[in-house]
């Protein structure tokens, strides 16, 4: 095949690629340091293995958590602003119907999920990416409520106060980690999606 016959399709804009990887790093730091903070006073009758945590001890974990939160939030603001203003969200994540999501999840479980055109997200992908964005929004607001239960007491009150915000923060983390794990498994199953998140381009045979 001649190289000229290979068509490159641009599928991930530069802003999305940069914010994706910054977000991945921020989430890794937030989750692993957050687990260490959780271990200092577990909400539920279990602890995370210290080997999987960041910070070495509570003070170190808090330093990481409250440093990376700026990275997470600033990066998130850039991504969400871009997503709304450029129409990226509208064109890539919508329309989204529960029926289409259920159908795609069923297909995926049968190992038959259509993934031919990498420039179009299937309904299961749309739901997963939207859910991660929503989880992160909930994580940021419940995090603000835990960090500042007096200054941001209105946010805390929505979640049933300080202790309620802790539970919301934990549940949003658990759901997000679950979706991220599925996301990583899907990338392993469809590895050609990985380089596109660096180059932004996918090969499409003419």
């Amino acid at each position: 095949m001649e190289p000229s016959q290979t068509q490159w399709v641009k599928i991930h804009p530069l802003v999305v690629r940069i914010t994706h990887w910054v977000n991945a790093l921020a989430i890794l730091v937030m989750v692993t340091s957050g687990w260490r903070i959780y271990n200092a006073s577990p909400l539920f009758p279990f602890r995370f293995p210290n080997e999987l945590t960041l910070g070495g001890w509570l003070a170190g974990a808090l330093q990481w958590h409250f440093a990376a939160m700026w990275l997470l939030v600033l990066n998130g603001i850039v991504y969400v602003t871009y997503g709304i203003v450029s129409g990226h969200f509208r064109s890539k994540l919508f329309p989204l119907t529960p029926r289409a999501v259920l159908n795609d999840v069923r297909e995926a479980l049968r190992g038959r999920l259509a993934h031919g055109d990498l420039s179009v997200y299937n309904a299961a992908q749309r739901a997963a990416y939207l859910a991660i964005i929503l989880c992160l929004v909930v994580l940021v607001f419940s995090g603000l409520a835990i960090w500042k239960p007096v200054q941001f007491q209105e946010i805390a009150a929505i979640m049933g106060g300080y202790e309620g915000a802790r539970i919301v923060h934990f549940c949003a983390m658990a759901l997000m980690v679950l979706i991220v794990l599925v996301h990583i498994i899907m990338v392993i199953l469809v590895p050609r999606t990985l380089p596109t998140m660096f180059t932004g381009r996918a090969r499409r045979a003419s």
């Binding site: 945590t53 330093q63 500042k148 239960p149 007096v150 200054q151 106060g161 300080y162």
Partner: protein, 252 residues
């Protein structure tokens, strides 16, 4: 034509194996990179340059929290029925090692930018106008508990001793060798109390006899117990936990 067919057939057959090997490699590499990042987690924090960045961010967070802090925003108060029983004991030592201060010989020392540095005895402190609050104590570890504290408004006390309230910090020294310090804005907050009672009883030793500075707008470790000396200063005093890496402002 023939060549093309062979290529196609090769492309059809070999990728299965290649792809599965690639996948396995990718998996293993992915896992080992993750494991490395995790394993080095504790050591990463000890790295000098990393530590510098983290401490710099902590100082930045001190400033951000100073801006977020409102002198008029009050911590939520609760009814008596919400009080946590028993209220947890917490310190950098065990409950059996609690310092017992002799109330009769006790004196509160004042230092720094304070006009009237005469030490205070307990009867003198008890004679000051008292107020109560039922607020949530939040520990840096994450747990919280609601308690009732009574004492004198710290801003009233600072005014009485002629403290320079334009100074930056108020530092505390305690009978159990604990130290901490707070910003002046928080010291002057209406809910910051110099307390002598817990649950309407004279503070028991485990909760900080003879006095605890109750600050519902700060984490528990910023609420010193067994206070023996108060200093008003413009030089950063640090503190027991703060010097070990806990965030200095630690405001709620």
């Amino acid at each position: 034509m023939k060549k093309r067919t062979m290529e196609t057939s090769l492309a059809e057959h070999s990728p299965k194996l290649v792809r599965s090997i690639e996948r396995r490699l990718f998996l293993r590499q992915g896992l080992s990179v993750g494991a490395l990042a995790m394993l080095s987690g504790c050591n990463l924090t000890d790295d000098e340059s990393v530590q510098k960045v983290l401490e710099g961010m902590s100082r930045w967070n001190d400033r951000a929290q100073g801006w977020l802090f409102s002198q008029t925003k009050l911590a939520p108060e609760f009814p008596e029925s919400a009080i946590t029983k028993p209220f947890p004991f917490n310190a950098f030592y065990t409950e059996a090692e609690v310092t017992v201060v002799d109330g009769k010989s006790y004196q509160l020392e004042l230092a720094g930018l304070v006009r009237d540095q005469k030490p205070w005895t307990l009867p003198e402190l008890y004679a000051l106008p008292q107020t109560s609050q039922i607020t949530r104590h939040i520990c840096v570890e994450g747990w919280s508990a609601i308690g009732k504290w009574s004492g004198v408004r710290f801003s009233d006390f600072l005014a009485r001793i002629g403290a320079d309230t334009t100074a930056k910090y108020v530092g505390f020294e305690c009978a159990d060798d604990y130290t901490t310090s707070i910003d002046m804005a928080t010291a002057l907050h209406p809910q910051t109390l110099l307390t002598f009672r817990f649950a309407d009883q004279i503070l028991p030793p485990k909760y900080g006899f003879p006095m605890k500075l109750r600050i519902p707008t700060k984490l528990g470790f910023k609420n010193p117990k067994h206070i023996t000396a108060i200093e008003v200063t413009n030089e950063y005093p640090g503190g027991y936990w703060e010097d070990q890496g806990y965030n200095w402002f630690s405001g709620s």
